[in-house]
Each structure stands twice: as C-alpha cells, then as structure tokens.
C-alpha cells in the first residue's frame, strides 16, 4: 500500500511538472507578452518601448531559465535600472530582492501579480479560503441530497419512485451552472425576491440571503450525477444473495436497506464524489463570476483576462494539484473501503 502511494505521488509530481511547463509555455506566448506589456505601460507606447519594458522586467530571458526561476531551481536576478545602471527591484510592489536569490514555488514564493500590484500569495490564499467556504456548503448540500435520491431510486428498481427520480437526476445533469444560475436568479431573485442575485456581499459576511443561490446553482449539476451512480450501485447491491438471505430471515425491508445494503452501496459513490472536484472547479469559476463572489474562480478569470502571468500560474498550480490529489484520495480511499480491492 505504501509503495503504491509513493509511486502515485511520483507520477503526480511528474504530471505537475509537465503541466506547469505547458501552462508556462502557453502563458508566455508572444501575443500574451505583448498584451501584458501594453497593459503595464502608458497608452500609445512605441514598439521599442514595449520591447524594452519586456527586456527590463526579465521577460526576454531564456524560456527554461525563467521556468527554473519560477520553480526556484535557478536564482532570480534583479533587473538593471537603465537610468542608473544599478540593480533594481523587478516589481517594487512585491519587494523583489536586489541580489540574486532562489525565490520560486519550492521556496514558497509564487511571484508577483501585475494586475493587483501585490504578491500572488496575498491574492491567491484568501481567494482559496473564500472558495473553500463555498465548496464546504456545496458539499453539505450536494452529498446528502444526492445519496438520498440515489438510495431511494435504487431501493426498488423500476418502481414509480425510481423512474421519477431517475428522470429528475438526468434533468439535473443536463443543467450546467450558467443555465441553472440564470433560472434560479429569475425565479428566486427577480420574481419572488427571496434571495440576493449577487454574492458580492458574502465576502463580508455569509448570510442565507446572499449565499443560497451560488450554493444551489453549484450543487444542482453534481447532484444528478452522484445520484445516478449511487442508484446504479444500490441496484446492483440489492440483487446480491446476502440481501435475499436477509429478507428470507424475516428482516423488514427498511432494516435490510439500512443495515445490509447501504454500507456496500456507498463505496462507488465515494469515488464519484472525489472525482467530482475537478468538475466543481469549472462550476466554481462560472458561479463566482456569475454571482460576483471573490474567490478562486474569480481570481482565475481576472488573471486570465489581464495576462497576469504569475497569478495565472499560481491558479493553474492549485487547480492541477486539486485534481491530482482528489484522484489519489479516491484510489486510496476506495481500497480502504472495499477490502476486496488489493492495490499492487
């Protein structure tokens, strides 16, 4: 088991290295650098001035050197002030060092956000915290509801309850966040006026009034999928011999479901819930933009829209890490929950 986890962690590190390199390459394409230079300098600058801005801020160094600097295996050089010829800070708002130092991801330095004029860490981690709160409430809503629907539907396959709940869960998987968000806002905010159509005020304090719509919107897309997986697994368990034996012993249907079927039926949904995280990530971006909630997704869109290289790299690193770590947890957890599975 331990060697399995170590091997998986090794693959994970390799994957992250490859992916960050790809992201680094795509972000640093020539058109993106041009746009960054234009947005960072004054209006109507000439092409030479743009070029000299890029050179001055170290964007014209070798690709691998810059990637190494970002990682923290190559020392970051201070830039040379063209006026005085002395070393100067690359971005004054980030307290960049004046002497060559190793300052990269390995040292815990995520770089400097050109859009927000602050360090990436000071933008990214509060945003992640805000998204964490959102995710917590989404899971609190999504997991119990979807498991309940799945179990109720799978308990008696082919019954009317099953068919109604199945069609309802198919409908919910057909409703992406930007569709359900609009529909919920129209119903609950515009017509009924019960809830707030914007979660911008949730940064100060979360209330039922401003936080329900984002949570609901994000949860609805996942509910259908998890419910269908739970149903499939429940249907399979209910046809097993030991369920029939328990029934024949004279146990009531309810206690058979709760005591015998449930435990075995919940193994598969566990994996599915873990693997939902990457999907939730896209949803988070949509919902945070739609409801103006200042979290991780909002930061990602701001970074991408403004060619904020270091911030976008930080966001990519976090999201790729989340995807990979949930995959690992789902594999290990599956082996723990199901003693029949032996990892080699």
């Amino acid at each position: 088991m331990l060697s399995f986890v170590i091997r998986r962690l090794g693959t994970m590190a390799l994957t992250m290295l490859c992916l960050t390199m790809v992201v680094f390459f795509l972000i640093n394409l020539e058109p993106n650098l041009k746009k960054l230079a234009i947005s960072q300098t004054e209006m109507h600058t000439s092409a030479e001035q743009l070029e000299s801005w890029l050179v001055n801020h170290g964007y014209r160094q070798n690709f691998f050197v810059r990637y190494g600097q970002w990682l923290g295996v190559v020392p970051k050089q201070p830039v040379t002030d063209p006026a005085t010829g002395k070393p100067a800070q690359r971005f004054s708002f980030c307290n960049d060092p004046l002497v060559p130092t190793f300052a990269g991801v390995f040292q815990g330095d995520f770089g400097c956000s050109t859009k927000f004029k602050a360090t990436v860490a000071s933008k990214l981690f509060p945003a992640l915290g805000a998204t964490g709160i959102l995710m917590f409430w989404v899971l609190m809503v999504m997991v119990p509801i979807s498991l309940l629907i799945g179990i109720l539907a799978g308990m008696r396959e082919g019954s009317r309850t099953d068919r109604v709940l199945s069609v309802a869960s198919i409908a919910s998987t057909a409703t992406p966040e930007y569709v359900s968000g609009v529909i919920f806002t129209v119903i609950f905010a515009s017509w009924l006026g019960w809830l707030n159509g914007s979660a911008a005020s949730a940064s100060q304090g979360i209330t039922f009034y401003n936080f329900t719509l984002p949570v609901m919107t994000l949860a609805i897309y996942g509910i259908g999928y998890i419910a269908r997986m739970t149903r499939a697994s429940m249907v399979e368990v209910m046809t097993q011999q030991y369920i029939r034996t328990a029934r024949l012993k004279g146990l009531s249907f309810g206690s058979v479901v709760v005591k015998h079927a449930l435990r075995n039926a919940l193994i598969a949904p566990f994996t599915v819930i873990m693997l939902q995280f990457p999907w939730l990530l896209t949803g988070v971006v949509i919902v945070e933009v739609m409801f103006r909630y200042q979290g991780f997704g909002y930061t990602l869109v701001e970074a991408a829209g403004n060619n904020d290289i270091d911030l976008l790299l930080g966001c990519s690193l976090v999201s790729v890490f989340i995807v990979l770590i949930t995959q690992l947890i789902s594999d290990v957890g599956y082996a723990f929950l199901n003693p029949r599975i032996r990892v080699q």
């Binding site: 058109p31 992406p176 569709v179 949509i286 995807v323």
Partner: protein, 385 residues
C-alpha cells in the same frame, strides 16, 4: 410611435406555427420510425420506451430547427431594429408587421430568431467535434488497450495529463485571440484532422489488402476526400472554396476535440482490454490475422454499444462546453447568436429584463436533456440483449 403588443396566448400560438416545417419533418420521421421500428435494430428499439421517444423527439426537433432555421425565424439574427430595444415578448415590429415573439435584447435584436439560429452553431460544432474526438480516441485507444506495455503507459500518461487540466483553464489558455497569431491551433488541427484519414485508410487496408480492386477504390476515395477536407480545414486552401472554417471557429473546434478525446481514449482502452480476452479474438489470432485487423474488425464492432451511448452523452457535454465558452466570451464572435453568448449577454441584465435570458437557457437545457434521455434509453436497450 409606441410599439403594439399581441396577447400572451397569441404569442404561444404563433411560436408553434412558426415551427411548421419542423413539425412536418418531425411527424414524417417519427411516423416512419414507428412504422418500421422492427427493422431498425437498436434505433427502432428506442421507440419501445417513453423515455426513448421523448429523447429522440427532442433531438430531432433541434436538428430540424437547425436545418430549417431560415424558414422558422422571422428576422435576421444579427439585424438591429432600434425601436425594438428591450421590448417585451409579443411586440409587433411596425415596418414588417412581424412579431418579436420572445421580445428584443439590449441591442434590439429578435431573441426568438437568435435562439433558432443558435441551434445551427451548436448542431454543427458539437457533433462534428465529438466525431473527431471519437476518431482520435479510438485510433489511440485501440493499440493502447490491445498491446499494453510501453505504448499504453505513454499514451495513458498523456491522456491523464490532459484530463488533469481543469477544462476552464484549458480554454482560457487555448482559446484566446492572441493564440491565433501563433501556429499552435493550426498545428493541433493538423494533427487531429489526420486521425480520421489514418483511421479509414487502415480500416480498408486491413480488410481488403488481398482484393486490390476494392482496396484501391476505397483508399482512393478516402485519401482524395480526406485530403480535400484536410486542405480546406487546416490550410484554408480548398481549391473549390467549399470547405472553409473561420479561424476562431477552428480554434474552438480544436480546443473541444483536445479536451474530450482523452475521455474517449480511456473508454476505448478499457473496452479493448475487456474484449481482447474473448474467444473470437483468440480465434482470429490463431488464424494469423494482423493485430490491426483484429482491433478494427473484431474488437471495435463489439465495443460499439457503449461507444454509441458515450457519443450521445458526449455531444451533450460538448454542447455544455460550447455554452461555457460562449458564457466567458471565448472564441466565438461577440455578436454570434449561439446560446452561450446569448446567456452571457442576458445574465448581466437580469435585474432589469429577464425575457432575453430564458429562451437560450431553456433551449440549451432541453437539447442536452434530449441527448441524455436518448443515451439513457440506448443504454437500457443494449443491456437487454
């Protein structure tokens, strides 16, 4: 001059009557399918369950809407008639006497016509991108599952690499106006569009290599047709100027294929690993058939059930992806009538007007729902055999 309105009931009636070519086509196709359902194999079995009929009905409805869009929609989807800005549903346009059935949006365009034309964009890109993703996934998944070993390790690692990319990040990196200045999208298109040609060439070669009369005709058709479309799509150099794709559409197309082919790859690989242990594969190996013949003519036909179901779900998922792209304003032109862009435009103004938001959301939802219902009943029917 104030704009005249017609009543809600008349709006409903007129919407229904605008769809007249769709209804006629729907009745003909559904009626014919019902009459001959015994002879139509898997497709005919769909008509045994209510869920299947509803699924087929919704999908065909949007298909015919896309085909007859010019007849169904009363206005040009891009035309702006200033007096109709933000009008409510049922407003009569004074000059032509036609009605803005679902009202006008903030740029005074007809919401109904835009919804109808939006279906065209979705119904062209989504199935085509899914088709290419299937080709790529199958061509790579077959050897990975069949040979295993190093090929499998490398290909699976690459697939997992793409799958570990959050879709939204991938789009923000790959679908930008700036990237069109670089050769990356064309390079990727060049690679992806090669797969169907390779697939069909190998398909015919393995089957007919001992029958040159058939082989040369089929290979010739594949190479000429494939090469023609390839030249048109990748280099925009179709000599007859028929095959043509806008650069930003190509960009979207490539990004969508890139995002969804690893999923197909994983499914195909899993299916092949299961099927290759069957007796008929062992029999073919004993006969001395070549590996690619076994993969393409023994294994692939037996994996078609799950693949068809997956393709249906995947078209729906691609539709959602296209909507996401439109919602973030990536790739598609800002005035494009596709549903995602329409939802983006309307959702910003929900506080003042809600009517432009509802038609595209309901259209997108119903189309994806139809595909999901179709996939669900296909799965159920194929499980029965």
């Amino acid at each position: 001059m104030p704009v005249q309105y017609i009543s809600g009931f008349t709006v409903v009636l007129e919407v229904l009557s605008r769809f007249w070519p769709v209804w006629i086509a729907l009745v003909i196709v559904m009626g014919a399918s019902f009459a001959y359902k015994k002879k139509l194999a898997l497709y005919g079995q769909l008509f045994d369950s209510g869920v299947g009929i509803v699924g087929v009905g919704i999908c065909l409805f949007w298909l015919f809407t896309a085909i007859f869009a010019a007849t169904v929609s009363p206005f040009d989807p891009l035309a702006q008639i200033p007096i109709m800005k933000d009008v409510l549903p049922g407003a009569v346009e004074p000059k032509s006497g036609l009605t803005y059935l679902f009202g006008g949006d903030k740029l005074a365009r007809d919401v109904f016509s835009r919804m109808v034309y939006g279906s065209q964009i979705v119904l062209i890109i989504a199935p085509a991108a899914t088709g290419f993703a299937l080709m790529v996934g199958i061509t790579l998944g077959l050897p990975a599952g069949y040979y295993g070993g190093k090929i499998d390790t490398v290909l699976s690692f690459l697939a997992n690499l793409v799958l570990a990319f959050p879709v939204i990040l991938l789009f923000y990196l790959l679908v930008t106006p700036g990237i069109m200045d670089t050769p990356i999208p064309y390079g990727m298109a060049g690679v992806f569009f090669l797969f169907p040609i390779i697939f069909f060439s190998v398909l015919f070669w393995t089957r007919y290599k001992n029958r040159p009369d058939r082989l040369y005709i089929l290979l010739g058709i594949t190479l000429i047709l494939g090469g023609w479309i390839y030249a048109g799509l990748v280099f925009d150099a179709d000599p007859l100027k028929i095959v043509h794709i806008d650069p930003n559409q190509l960009n979207i197309f490539v990004a969508v294929v890139f995002a969804s082919s690893p999923g197909v790859f994983r499914i195909v690989r899993g299916l092949v690993m299961d099927i290759k242990t069957r007796d008929y594969v062992a029999a073919a190996q004993t006969r001395g058939e070549s590996p690619w013949y076994i993969m393409l003519w023994e294994i692939l036909p037996n994996a078609r059930g799950p693949l068809i179901v997956d393709a249906c779900l995947r078209i729906g998922y691609t539709t959602i992806l296209l909507g996401t792209l439109g919602y973030f304003g990536l790739g598609l032109a800002p005035e494009s009538p596709d549903w995602g862009t329409a939802i983006k435009d309307a959702s910003r103004l929900l506080r003042s007007f809600i009517h432009p938001a509802l038609p595209p959301t309901i259209a997108l939802m119903s189309f994806v729902l139809g595909l999901n219902l179709l996939a669900d009943s296909l799965r159920e029917q194929s499980m029965k055999d």
